[in-house]
């Protein structure tokens, strides 16, 4: 069943076209990865889906309703963590709980918030303020806050981009665990510029070309889960997926030999 549908959307800042004629449907419970180079319009795409900006032309539908404004139905984890620095981790998450479970008392909300924090391994840091936390902890906090919203659609904008490889691997596992444990599964749109990450996480990968941003390829990843990081580098099927993705960008580079932005992948 389709939950999200982008119907021929275009987005421009003034004369500058960022996204062009982009159409896309995402199924319920799907883990979709959007892959693209920096400055390619990935964040812009997520902002449109979140309702923080409106497409110049075209429409976005979520659960058969047109997206017009931000809603807790479409939770987003921003590229830079955007936790509120004036609240402790627990209070940051409690804000989201207040929206998803409005009938709880203040104390119950904080308890629920603490549960979400424990789920991302931040149980001990609940009373801390963002400035007291490392980058990885803040990112987990932001994830916990968005999870606490209970939104059926999760938008993740390069959430692990700023982390060291060790923390990144841990958080990737954590995200997959949380996604797979929930019934019904949430729909996830995960943005990254890292092919390995895309292969590890996605049911499907959308390759986004830049200048202007549009879909230049789409690969369905049929490999069973959990996937091992080693397989992603060495196994035969992943090699062919990788080659297919790279082919999308190469083809594009040939098309417009002068402006080979997508080659950065």
């Amino acid at each position: 069943m389709t939950t999200l549908r982008l119907a021929d959307i275009t987005f421009a800042y003034g004369d500058r076209v960022i996204l062009e004629h982009l159409s896309l449907t995402v199924a319920d419970g799907e883990f979709l990865v959007v892959l693209g180079a920096s400055g390619g319009g990935k964040t812009t795409l997520l902002r449109l889906i979140a309702g923080l900006a409106a497409p110049t032309t075209g429409q976005i539908f979520f659960a058969d309703e047109e997206v017009r404004a931000p809603s807790p139905q479409r939770g987003i984890v921003f590229q830079d963590y955007a936790l509120f620095p004036w609240y402790s981790l627990r209070d940051n998450v409690a804000l989201a709980v207040a929206k998803s479970e409005p009938r709880l008392s203040r104390r119950e909300r904080r308890e629920r918030a603490a549960e979400y924090l424990r789920a991302v391994g931040l149980g001990d840091a609940a009373a801390k303020y963002p400035h007291e936390l490392s980058g990885g902890m803040r990112q987990r906090g932001a994830l916990a806050r968005t999870l606490a919203l209970g939104s059926p659609l999760l938008l993740l904008d390069e959430p692990f981009g700023a982390l060291d490889p060790h923390n990144r691997a841990r958080l990737q596992n954590l995200l997959l665990e949380i996604w797979r444990a929930a019934t019904p599964r949430r729909t996830v749109i995960f943005v990254t510029h890292d092919i390995d990450e895309a292969l590890l996480l996605g049911d499907r990968i959308i390759a986004l070309g830049s200048n202007p941003g549009r879909i230049i390829g789409e690969i369905k990843i049929d490999a069973p889960r959990p996937r091992s990081r080693e397989d992603i580098i060495t196994a035969e099927n992943f090699r062919s997926y990788r080659a297919a993705i790279q082919a999308c960008y190469c083809r594009r580079d040939d098309d417009e030999a002068v402006d080979g932005d997508g080659g950065g992948i």
Partner: protein
């Protein structure tokens, strides 16, 4: 000649050793300084330019101080925390008592300064003690009432003006030019108008103080809110926050550091306004007392009043700093000022 140099060198070495020895006994610096002050007070006779006081207030003061710092120094042997504290404050209070001693010598003992304008510490203390009840209950009480009315009215009005300007374009359009024109006028410049326009000098004074606080509070609240990164509002809107929640959960907390800067500026200018208003129109309060005593040429009382003012304002500012530390724990270590 050679002998002379060797001798000098030896003296210098001894002096240096003594200095090093002094550094080792830092805990005893203050008692030692006070001890010297007491010796000088007891050994030297008073200069007759300074009128005599009824009691030897200066002696009381130095003896009490001696007892206090001796207790601290002895206690430091037993409590490591006391020791740490005392080591920290030692140099400062040594300087304080040294300065007091020098002033005492210059006035009471040698009469180097004109006695009319520079009363000895003993005379200032006498003025403080004799007028204490009047200073605290009548003068300070009256000033506190005026300051509190003006300060809170101004701070609250400034806060709401700032919020309106920060969040509402129409309010900004109408109010911003007003704050820019009225704001920079020193509140005390209004005194000639306010004193005739207001029914009582109290209400006029309170209005002036309110004006003094209102301007920085409004400007800093408004600019604090205007400078909140838009990302925070976006985040809160994806969390489903309504407009009101955005104001109370994002805008105001994010603007708090800036609001406190406004309050500090406002506090300082409210003190200036309070003093000026009392000296120029309001017929009571600590500022009026200082001015009145000056007219009567009793400078010991002027100093006594100034001491009360200094202590009070110091306490109020400290209180505001504490409040800020509590409200802004979330940015501890982020911003220092």
């Amino acid at each position: 000649m050679n002998l002379f140099i060797t001798k000098t060198m030896r003296y210098l070495a001894t002096a240096w050793a003594a200095v090093k020895e002094l550094r080792r006994v830092k805990l005893w610096w203050v008692p030692m300084t006070i001890g010297i002050a007491i010796l000088l007070e007891l050994l030297l006779s008073n200069h007759d330019s300074q009128p005599a006081t009824k009691y030897a207030y200066y002696r009381y003061l130095v003896f009490i101080a001696l007892a206090f710092f001796l207790t601290l120094a002895v206690g430091a042997k037993f409590f490591p925390r006391w020791r740490e504290k005392l080591l920290h404050i030692s140099a400062f209070y040594t300087a304080v008592f040294l300065a007091l001693n020098i002033y005492h010598l210059a006035t009471q003992k040698f009469g180097l300064l004109p006695a009319l304008f520079f009363p000895s510490p003993g005379r200032i203390l006498e003025a403080l003690v004799v007028d204490f009840r009047y200073l605290i209950v009548d003068c300070l009480g009256s000033s506190a009432k005026l300051l509190a009315w003006g300060y809170f009215t101004g701070a609250i009005a400034g806060f709401f003006t700032g919020i309106a300007v920060g969040f509402n374009k129409t309010a900004a359009y109408w109010v911003n030019p007003l704050t820019r024109i009225i704001g920079p006028i020193p509140p005390t410049a209004w005194i000639p108008i306010v004193l005739v326009a207001f029914p009582t000098t109290f209400s006029g004074g309170a209005f002036l103080i309110a004006l003094a606080v209102w301007f920085p509070a409004a400007v800093m609240t408004g600019s604090g809110i205007a400078n909140v990164p838009n990302a925070y509002f976006e985040v809160s809107s994806t969390l489903g926050a309504s407009r009101w929640r955005q104001i109370f959960y994002v805008g105001i907390p994010a603007a708090m550091p800036s609001i406190f800067i406004g309050l500090f500026t406002g506090t300082c200018s409210s003190f200036i306004t309070l003093m000026t208003a009392e000296m120029l129109g309001v017929k009571n309060g600590i500022g009026w007392y200082v001015n009145w005593q000056r007219e009567m040429l009793s400078y010991a009382n002027v100093y006594a009043g100034l001491i009360i003012i200094a202590i009070t304002f110091y306490l109020l500012i400290t209180l505001l700093f504490r409040l800020r530390d509590v409200v802004l724990v979330w940015q501890k270590g982020v911003i220092k000022w």
